[in-house]
């Protein structure tokens, strides 16, 4: 039987990467010395499932590595070894290596074998060191009894539960990375375990496939254990075995049912078969139980509370992003159609028209809800990005010899997946900057009367229709004088120019600007802040810097919630309508002829809050015949591009503010300088959405030419 397993690869990779993330998170939470058992279990489960998966798919390198890792983790779990700092480092490195291996396999690239085997050696070494340590035999201490049992504990007052477990693994259990030994060992920790093996299926040695499991077990577990706990032990084997768990009366002197009998009574046990409803009448002698099982099983589905546990499904499904985008697109079209209908309806007269308008209003409401719901589907909590920081901060702090405390707040703030994907790198950069430049060395901090450990704080929250992400630190803050001196050095600022704080901070966003006294491999190469700002701008966002010398600095990033719609101001130029994103608009005003002056080489400018801003006549730029060419007959929209660069866009009129669905021009036509996309208006006409930073770039290039 051959099944094409490659179809499952994508899901395996995706799940594995996610699992590794959670493993990393758990590792970082792990307290040295007194680890939380639940966390260790989480970590173990990840290693275990990756091992199982990679063994199934034949990624033997990964399987072998994770096997070593799992062995080490198993020791941790059983308490045979303690979590030390060295071990936690080793485990974190293992996460990296597994990630790298998975990525290599995913992209069909060679695995860095040297790195893997080095680390695997370290893992094995650590295990070996434990094994050579004297008298570490936790397993031996566990009360395990060879069947037949020396009579189960007498049915004294609060008799412990007696569970009968029929565990029949499928042949492929081993290949899936499951080892019955481990499960039985776990069971033995829960209570007193008697195991009877059934070797009826074991073929002759020569015919035996070492990778297949031929054994089956009938187990009796006596102890105060919940059924769900038992199920948990077998959780990883689910689907790879038949499992029957039955509570029998704690009466003594009961013989384990021969496996054959169980087989006869329950020929087709499904992996997650609903367990017999727990309370089999206590008096029922077990001799009947096997036969009765059939009956109980038949009426089991009728009992509402019959199937317990194994419903670990979190109630979510995986959907490809394309499907959601398609849905999103269709909804966008619907919104346009609805707007068209509304416009049409408002023009109609007569008694039915009133009803029609009522219906249209209802339609509009529903449309908005639908649009929001679809949008929400694409939203993910920012935690997806934040979660990579604890590890990064830890590593960086170690490398730089600083003490850093990372504070994360607002992790549950949701934003669009596309925005989320693009915000990661800029944030990484900002956090690195904070740690490298911002936070001082512990000695400097204590000397300044600050706690030795610096704090880096990442915060996210919704603000209006935007999301604000703040990166702040309590470090030294930006050194204004040094920035200014450096800028003067490089001729970016004239020797006598006086700059506001804001303008000084703006300097660090210039390409190639770095004030770090020495370049480290962490930051200070001057490629950074300009890239950060460009990325943020590309997302339609803004970046702002605040700093107080000696007290720290704060970077505030404001981003739209989604890239699919934009809040825009529609403006008219002749017969055309353009959309100016609201986030770029500073103010709209009517000019008086007296405000305008002509500068040689810079064209027309007007005075705005003490600065002279160039006037951009949109009709000239787009070659449209306007209603008016006289400046004081139209309106000027003051718009801001990168780094407080402002221009006045001269338009005929302002039409109204609305949310518009962005349609990509690139996808349908091609890139146009100064235009970020297009949208379809209620009347079915197309309006271009202006890209203000791009527009300003285009103009200054034209002026320079």
């Amino acid at each position: 039987m051959t099944i094409d397993l490659t179809q499952f690869h994508d899901a395996f990779f995706e799940e594995s990467f996610e699992a590794l993330d959670s493993m990393e998170t758990a590792l970082l939470k792990l307290d040295i010395g007194a680890p939380d058992k639940e966390l260790i279990n989480t970590i173990f489960r990840v290693a275990h499932s990756i091992k199982g998966g990679s063994a199934t798919f034949g990624f033997s390198d990964i399987a072998s590595f994770t096997h070593s890792l799992e062995t080490l983790l198993d020791e941790l779990r059983s308490g045979g070894m303690q979590v030390t700092l060295a071990m936690s480092d080793l485990l974190l490195k293992s996460v990296d290596v597994m990630r790298a291996m998975l990525r290599a396999v995913q992209h069909k690239q060679p695995i860095n074998a040297q790195r893997v085997s080095d680390l695997q050696f370290d893992l094995e070494l650590m295990i070996a060191q434990k094994n050579s340590a004297p008298a570490a035999a936790p397993a031996q201490a566990t009360p395990v009894a060879e069947a037949p049992a020396p009579a189960p504990p007498a049915a004294a007052a609060p008799a412990p539960a007696r569970w009968e477990i029929a565990f029949r693994p499928y042949a492929e259990l081993f290949a899936r990375g499951n080892d019955p030994l481990r499960m039985l060992r776990e069971l033995a920790e829960l209570g007193q375990l008697e195991s009877t093996v059934d070797i009826g299926g074991l073929p002759a040695f020569a015919a035996l496939d070492p990778q297949s499991c031929y054994l089956a077990w009938n187990l009796v577990l006596t102890g105060d254990v919940a059924e769900s706990t038992i199920r948990q032990v077998f959780e990883w084997a689910e689907g790879d075995c038949d499992l029957q768990i039955r509570l029998t009366s704690p009466a003594p002197a009961m013989q384990t049912v021969a496996s054959g009998q169980i087989e006869g009574a329950q020929p087709v046990a499904v992996p997650s078969a609903p367990v017999e409803p727990a309370p089999v009448p206590a008096a029922a002698p077990l001799a009947l139980a096997a036969a009765a099982a059939v009956a109980t099983k038949a009426d089991a589905p009728a009992k509402p509370d019959a199937p317990v546990a194994t419903v670990a499904d979190s109630g979510s499904i995986r959907v490809s992003v394309e499907k959601i985008d398609e849905l999103m697109n269709t909804v966008g079209e619907l919104v346009i159609t609805q707007a068209m209908l509304s416009q049409l309806g408002s023009k109609l007269e007569g008694p039915t028209a009133e009803k029609l308008r009522g219906g249209l209003a209802q339609l509009e409401r529903n449309m908005r809800e639908l649009q929001e719901s679809v949008m929400r589907v694409r939203m993910l909590p920012i935690n997806v990005v934040f979660s990579r920081f604890p590890r990064m901060v830890r590593d960086l702090a170690q490398r730089l010899g600083k003490q850093i405390e990372l504070k994360l707040t607002g992790e549950q703030t949701e934003l669009d997946k596309t925005v989320l994907e693009k915000i990661g790198d800029p944030l990484v950069h900002l956090v690195r900057n904070s740690i490298d430049h911002g936070i001082e060395a512990p000695a400097t901090r204590t000397a300044a009367g600050k706690p030795a450990a610096g704090t880096v704080h990442l915060d996210a929250c919704h603000r209006g229709g935007n999301i604000a992400v703040e990166v702040s630190d309590d470090g030294g803050g930006l050194d204004k004088d040094r920035i200014l001196a450096k800028a003067r050095d490089r001729g970016l600022v004239g020797p006598n120019d006086v700059l506001t704080d804001e303008q000084v901070y703006d300097l660090i966003f210039l390409p190639g600007f770095s004030t770090a006294e020495k370049t480290t491999d962490v930051s200070g190469r001057g490629v950074g802040m300009d890239v950060v700002r460009r990325n943020i701008k590309e997302l339609g966002g803004k970046i702002e810097l605040r700093s107080e010398h000696g007290k720290g600095s704060k970077t505030i990033i404001t981003l739209p919630l989604t890239l699919a719609i934009v809040d825009g101001q529609s403006v008219s130029v002749g017969s055309e309508t353009y959309i100016v994103p609201l986030i770029s608009i500073v103010e709209s005003m009517q000019l008086k002829a007296a405000d305008v002056s002509r500068l040689s080489g810079r064209g027309e400018v007007f005075s705005f809050r003490g600065y002279y801003l160039p006037i951009v006549r949109l009709y000239e730029l787009f070659g449209v015949e306007p209603r008016t060419k006289v400046l004081d007959e139209g309106l000027v929209v003051v718009a801001e591009g990168e780094g407080h660069q402002r221009v006045g866009l001269f338009v005929d009129d302002l039409l109204g503010q609305q949310q518009v669905v962005i349609k990509s021009l690139e996808a349908n036509y091609g890139h146009v300088e100064g235009v970020s996309g297009a949208t379809i208006l209620g009347d079915g006409s197309v309006a271009l959405i202006l890209d203000v930073p791009g527009l300003i770039r285009a103009i200054s290039m034209r002026a320079a030419a």
Binding site: T71, I199, A204, F205, W217
Partner: protein, 80 residues
Amino acid sequence: MVSDAASLKERLAALIDEPLAVTLDITALQRIDTAGLQLMTAFVRDRAGQGRTVEWQGSAPVLATAARLLGLTSLLQLPA
């Protein structure tokens, strides 16, 4: 050192028809899984079926514990 069941099988296969008593030295055994024990069980059982014996040399707590957990102690003819 035997690291996986497949290579263990190869090594045991060479011994399965050995007419003399086979002695398995388990002193250096550090890890064992069910697959390995299953193999050993088949090995011991098949040899016993032909009237041939298997003896154990040394002791390995890992093996003893594992066998007990899996209910294989007597089948493996391990000292209880």
